[in-house]
Symmetry: C2
Subunit: 348 residues, 2 copies
Amino acid sequence: MAKRLYLDWNASAPLRSEAKAAMSASMELTGNASSVHAEGRAVRAAIEKARAQVASALGADGAEIVFTSGATEAAALACAGSDLHCAGIEHDAVASWCSVDLEVGAEGRVTVPEPERACLQLANSETGIVQELPAGLAVSDLTQGFGKLPVAFNWLGCQMGLVSAHKLGGPAGVGALVLRQGTDLSAQLKGGGQEMGRRAGTENLIGIAGFGAAAEAAASDLAAGRWEEVEAIRNCLESALEADCPDIISIGQGARRLPNTLCLVTPGWRGETQVMTMDLSGFAVSAGSACSSGKVTVSRVLQAMGFDDLAAGSALRVSIGPGIVREDVLRFAERFTAAWKRARARMK
Amino acid sequence: MAKRLYLDWNASAPLRSEAKAAMSASMELTGNASSVHAEGRAVRAAIEKARAQVASALGADGAEIVFTSGATEAAALACAGSDLHCAGIEHDAVASWCSVDLEVGAEGRVTVPEPERACLQLANSETGIVQELPAGLAVSDLTQGFGKLPVAFNWLGCQMGLVSAHKLGGPAGVGALVLRQGTDLSAQLKGGGQEMGRRAGTENLIGIAGFGAAAEAAASDLAAGRWEEVEAIRNCLESALEADCPDIISIGQGARRLPNTLCLVTPGWRGETQVMTMDLSGFAVSAGSACSSGKVTVSRVLQAMGFDDLAAGSALRVSIGPGIVREDVLRFAERFTAAWKRARARMK
């Protein structure tokens, strides 16, 4: 039996060996980072090392890195009560706190009339479409871009950024809010002075250590050109599908996209059916965002881009990363097109 | 050189081997618990296993366990906007959301006129003093009791409970809010259906797996009587100090206390000086709660109990756990009383 193939990196990337090693090492530390004794200071040092690693990987030296329990918490910290505007392609963790009224063009590009009152993602998790961030932007969700694209927070021109560890090979349950120094922001979790008073609660040492190591390794992969290889493999998959089944729509093909993402629409073949079919064939892929906790329905992102419910309910996301090779994606293409042909035949 | 001795278990307990093993095993899983494919379902299963372990250890079968990033987040979720009352001995993570106006008796016991509008801890982190929880209590902070005392949430009579993994040998940065089934509570982190809609955000798989394993091991230690041994060692330390230096005040000696905690007051010898002195001698102890992020000042808990600033600024907490033996605490007693005698001599 062929081994299973994990093609759902945008939902959660495989844990990097560097992250595992850093987490295992941090398991040997005992103590609370807020304690003043030697044990506490060692924990504090490990956290500060990770903070520097994340800042460096993110081009955010001098900015504040506030560790959170993930990008969802970072989004709440950045956006709640701030009267921001966003488009319908934003993740629910952002859109829940904003007026969802910014316009989305057919190619997925968002118009931002007032950047200082807006939240705009760097890259979309479902389509991979990359936005041009306007200068003066209040908040950018960098979750999907960080680790896959060269990102320099200090040059993006936005006030705050959201990032997540598990999208770049760190553990789930840890992320950060990045702030330009001097940004006014009050804590939502209270009761301790941690994270410079921005976020109370004993720090997730093990997760933070894993995040730091993963961010450093991700930046090193990017610098080594590994994501250009990923892009070539993704394009190879796209071409194979196109050649065999020209009726499969590849979303965002004309736009700037993440190097690893394909969003495929096969009108009439429901996304959840595709996921289950391919799962049984040994491939882990996804229909839209994973974050709706198992509820796979119609893609809100594609709807916001103007697709009808039939198309938005028939989308599949394939997202890959370093280590996935040409043979892997061609194997997927073969099984996927065969399944689509069968599904299409049943529809007639 | 004698090896360092970690006597600050209430700040953070050493990570249990069972937790390390569970975390290492969960590092081999790839995927997002919300994904419907096999990889996602395996992550989901690991999280649900941990949820059952925590529920069982906590005597909370049938109650809802909502995993959070720690007790601080659980406190915010339970208490924010709920117009609850508490006493000054509560942790800041609780007190920040409450009217701090409940009366504390000299022995540290809190009077609760309206339990359904109050938050009361099971045990105090600094003094170890255990409260009788009144029936119908809205929220109880079980953080310090869970794992050290037999606790059965279903019989405590409170609506919600807060717990933390790293106080019982799990990793820091994970905790839970426990709710009687059917409790009305809206999410504070939004943008995903995780945790039955109570708490959005991709789950901290590794931390949660460690919490589950640690909770199970803690319950097993309790059942095996290991905390009775801890209590005997603690009492041995208390007697040794009393015999050598009768002027050291041991707080809560007449009250029901956690089996592992000693809160010592040496009037005029500042807590932070004691911590630094003992740290240099190879002992990790603490002055008050660690959670004020390095700011060691006057104990708010002792102030709430009616101690003056001199006493409340001269408190030291020694907190131990299984594996600490008689020779360890006697070595501490010897060094501590010698240092106290020197400090006392300088004060004259």
